[in-house]
């Protein structure tokens, strides 16, 4: 990924491949992504939660994280 910052007229532009975004546009895209994930089924969300628990368990030193059984 090529990522460059182009400071022009006090507005930062971010280039990702052949597209140019403002910071505001990137925030908006992130918000849209969050909203789309909010529409996943409850079952899918619980599977993602368990993946997050596994990740947290692997990253934690004390290994006190409980990983749910589905």
């Amino acid at each position: 990924m090529i990522l460059k910052r182009n400071i022009m007229e006090n507005e930062i532009k971010i280039i990702i491949y052949d597209k140019v975004y403002t910071r505001e546009e990137l925030h908006k895209m992130e918000e849209e992504f969050r909203k789309s994930r909010a529409k996943l089924s409850f079952e899918e969300k619980i599977k993602i939660l368990v993946d997050l628990q596994k990740l947290a368990f692997n990253l934690s030193k004390k290994k006190e994280i409980i990983i749910w059984k589905l």
Binding site: A38, K45, L49, L52, I65, I66, K69, L70
Partner: protein
């Protein structure tokens, strides 16, 4: 998860509790993008009202114990899922009553609606609760008219206005 819900449904079927609904982070996840949490918060409506300010959860814990599930730290761990049981107060009873019925892998359960979750989190008002209110307002389809009714009914309208002013400047 499925087994935990089956056991909770058994509590209702065996008339140990009147009703229950999932609240807290897991209920929030129903309405917003998934995020990390460890416990399943469950609000239960008991068969009998509190007597002289004492709430007896022993029948519930006894039922779990007989099933082989034991109390560990603050949780009952049911088939690997830590479950937190909360006896419902007046607001939570209404939240359970109006909770949405859903199915998780074929098992029926009830989930507290975004409007009641916002009010419950507002009442608790911890940092992690505030974050969940923000997520619900930003990502879920919240019925603002219903939310307003609940806020007024439970005397929390002013607190919600303060929250909006603090975090959204309006």
């Amino acid at each position: 998860m499925k087994k935990a819900l089956e056991i909770l449904n058994e509590l209702k079927k065996e008339q140990i509790i009147k009703d229950y609904a999932i609240g807290g982070a897991i209920a929030t996840i129903r309405w917003v993008e998934p995020f990390f949490t460890q416990d399943l918060d469950v609000f239960v409506v008991l068969k009998e009202e509190a007597s002289e300010g004492i709430i007896d959860l022993s029948p519930i814990y006894e039922y779990f114990k007989n099933k082989g599930y034991l109390w560990d730290k603050q949780w009952i761990v049911i088939e690997g899922v830590p479950v937190d049981i909360f006896p419902a107060d007046e607001l939570e009873r209404k939240a359970v009553e109006e909770a949405q019925e859903i199915e998780y892998e074929g098992v029926k359960t009830k989930i507290i609606t975004p409007e009641y979750l916002i009010v419950l989190f507002l009442k608790s008002n911890r940092d992690k609760d505030i974050r969940k209110i923000q997520m619900l307002l930003e990502q879920a389809e919240v019925n603002m008219d219903r939310l307003n009714e609940i806020l007024i009914q439970f005397g929390l309208r002013e607190k919600f206005d303060d929250f909006k002013k603090k975090y959204y400047g309006k």
